[in-house]
């Protein structure tokens, strides 16, 4: 109870409130602009967080995460293009409803269900993250190794696209993490005589390259695309009838989203698709789906916002990111000298509960901004890509350069931009690369330390019950897509 009171610390700190308001507004802008989103936006703003204290920095990143996830719905409803990938399912019913002249009703439903989903997930985060952290006290190096493997296999099976391609992308991400001096023996790997590579490849150049620059290249192929924008008068709160129709869907999707979020996967995107399909499956009027059903909007939006809090659970409790955006948040924690994991819960509860509280407030803030300002935010979509993307390029280049003032980082960013473009073109998701990159050191480090403990005997992994459990779960995760395919 004492800890819960710490959640309201942001309310009494004017500095944190300013950061929260700025983060929420910035997140909404990122969410509204197709191609940008919480991951790219978070990576771009990461250098600026260096001017803030650790709590303010993470509060800023989490506020962006929550509000950008909602912001995607505005574009999905008004121009039939998801502002963020997590809003893809919202297009299916949001846009048809807007075409019927009910854009305000569609956005009202999206706003209220996103807020409820987001708040629900914060409650899940507050109760489950400490429990998971407590469980993690039992973990040694072999358990962490098995957990990281489980995370990567889950990412492959639940993520979008082909599971094998996701595994390749994840392995590629881990491979990137091995570039530079080996952290245990200082032996250089894949540096090929380039001194700057000895310290390894930074996370930010890779993220900005894979998300922002590759998206810029993608946008260069879509210049002939014409968006039809539906006019919006004002956002309307759902009617009593709409509430009656959707409350079960919102609760179900909030649960689904929180659960999916906890699993290391593409968080909100997968959650919204499952939330949407479950809403359709349980609906009394499934024939209305795809034609402007409010249940469809509620199902998708509650789920994608519920994934935000869920994805923070493993990030804070175990240091294993639940999504690409939480990987950026995790990087933010690390560069501010905060090491997530069980010790964080014991040593810095005020820090953690400050984050929980700020996420709760961010959900309320985006409700207010979304409800009263959606019309203004919708106008941001009018900024033409031919002006927007060169500007994003300038910010990307300066942001990447600023971290270690190295031009090599800028080249790396451009290189990964091109790689990311071709990966996406041929059906390889870039999210596993990011997760692989951030988990790489953990996977290799825990594997090698475990082998030291086991004196090189690999079979001793199988003598640890938690390790065996994670390995079995990993096998199930790998077999799951095959079983799903057979069932289809």
């Amino acid at each position: 109870m004492e800890n819960l009171s710490l959640m309201f610390a942001p309310l009494v700190s004017s500095k944190l409130m300013i950061v929260l308001v700025f983060g929420t507004l910035f997140g909404l802008i990122l969410g509204v602009l197709p191609g940008l989103g919480p991951t790219t936006g978070g990576a771009l703003i990461l250098p600026f967080t260096m001017t803030l204290d650790p709590l303010s920095a993470i509060v800023l990143l989490t506020a962006i995460y929550c509000s950008a996830t909602y912001g995607g719905a505005i574009t999905a409803v008004l121009i039939n293009t998801p502002g963020t990938p997590a809003a893809a399912a919202t297009c299916l019913d949001g846009y048809p409803l807007a075409q019927k002249g009910e854009a305000g009703r569609a956005l009202g439903m999206a706003t209220i269900s996103s807020t409820i989903g987001g708040i629900f997930s914060v409650v899940v985060l507050v109760f489950f993250a400490p429990l998971l952290a407590q469980l993690a006290y039992e973990f040694g190096q072999p358990e962490y190794f098995a957990l990281a493997i489980f995370g990567l296999t889950m990412l492959a099976s639940i993520g979008e696209g082909s599971p094998i391609k996701n595994l390749i992308a994840g392995a590629f991400g881990i491979l990137i993490s091995t570039i530079g001096k080996d952290f245990m023996t200082s032996i250089e790997r894949f540096t090929y005589g380039i001194n700057e590579l000895s310290e390894g490849i930074g996370f930010i150049p890779v993220v900005v390259g894979l998300f922002a620059i590759s998206e810029m290249l993608t946008q260069s192929t879509l210049l002939d695309q014409v968006f039809k924008r539906v006019a919006l008068k004002a956002v309307k709160l759902p009617s009593l009838l709409d509430y009656k129709k959707t409350w079960k869907t919102i609760l179900r999707s909030s649960g689904i989203g929180s659960f999916i979020g906890v699993l290391p996967a593409e968080g909100g995107t997968v959650a919204s698709l499952i939330g949407y399909s479950e809403a359709k499956r349980w609906s009394k009027n499934p024939e209305e789906f795809g034609k402007g059903s409010v249940e469809g909007i509620a199902g998708a939006e509650a789920a994608n916002n519920a994934a935000t809090g869920g994805a923070m659970v493993p990030t804070l409790a175990l240091g294993i990111p639940g999504s690409a955006t939480t990987a950026v948040i995790l990087t933010g924690l690390i560069i501010h000298g905060v090491r997530p994991g069980p010790d964080l819960f014991r040593e810095q509860p005020e820090f953690l509960y400050g984050i929980f509280g700020s996420m709760l407030i961010a959900n309320i803030l985006f409700f207010i901004f979304g409800f009263f300002g959606a019309k203004i935010f919708a106008r941001i979509t009018l900024v033409p890509n031919k002006l927007l993307w060169p500007m994003i390029f300038a910010v990307s280049v300066c942001g990447t350069y600023s971290l270690s003032q190295s031009m090599l980082d800028v080249w790396i960013m451009l290189f990964f931009g091109v790689i990311g473009f071709f990966m996406r073109r041929y059906g390889f998701s870039v999210v596993p690369v990011i997760i692989g990159l951030i988990l790489g050191e953990l996977v290799e480090g825990t594997l090698r330390q475990s082998l030291v403990i086991f004196e090189g005997n690999w079979l001793l992994f199988l003598t640890r019950p938690i390790v065996v459990t994670f390995f079995i779960l990993s096998l199930i995760a790998l077999a799951f897509p095959l079983l799903r395919k057979k069932r289809k």
Partner: protein, 169 residues
């Protein structure tokens, strides 16, 4: 005729080495093999300093895994061919070209100038013809970004013909 059948028919007319499935798999396997070979030149630590496994073992394992998985992806593409992609349009290649120019100009002339030229070039290639907007993206916005990073983050940009004027070198 469903899409998969149509795809199979279209793909059958192409020699295997022109198909995306082959090209992508081949490039991944080729690069992985080259990297795998390079791991054999990594230094070996003496047993007393060795922490579990040699530093080259882990990347070797990953590269072998990538090669095996890519082979599986290629094998599976026989059953389910990949979607044929549209040809990439001219603005894509021009944008890609601008990256190369960016690297060249930022290395030889000036970092700020490189950003400015890339912005105006990309914006123009993507269809912007209004001079005022071209000035906005190529001069005004980069100046704002430059000053913002310089003052807020205390960033020192690399020397160059324009940057030196700003720093009064």
């Amino acid at each position: 005729m469903n899409n998969v059948q149509k795809q199979k028919r279209a793909n059958k007319s192409l020699p295997f080495f022109f198909k995306d499935e082959f090209k992508v798999s081949f490039i991944i396997i080729l690069i992985s093999t080259v990297l795998l070979i390079s791991t054999f030149s990594f230094d070996i630590v003496p047993p007393i300093l060795n922490r579990g496994i040699q530093p080259a073992t882990f990347p070797k394992g990953l590269l072998v895994l990538i090669i095996i998985l890519t082979s599986i992806v290629y094998y599976l593409s026989f059953k389910k061919p990949w979607e044929t992609k549209k040809k990439l349009p001219q603005p894509f290649f021009l944008t890609l070209l601008s990256f190369i120019f960016f690297i060249f100009i930022s290395k030889t002339l000036d970092f700020f100038l490189a950003i400015s030229l890339l912005s105006v070039f990309v914006s123009y290639c993507w269809g912007e013809r209004r001079v005022i907007y071209l000035i906005l993206v190529s001069i005004i916005f980069p100046i704002i970004v430059f000053i913002f990073f310089e003052t807020i983050l205390g960033l020192r940009f690399p020397p160059g013909i324009i940057t030196n004027i700003y720093y009064q070198v």
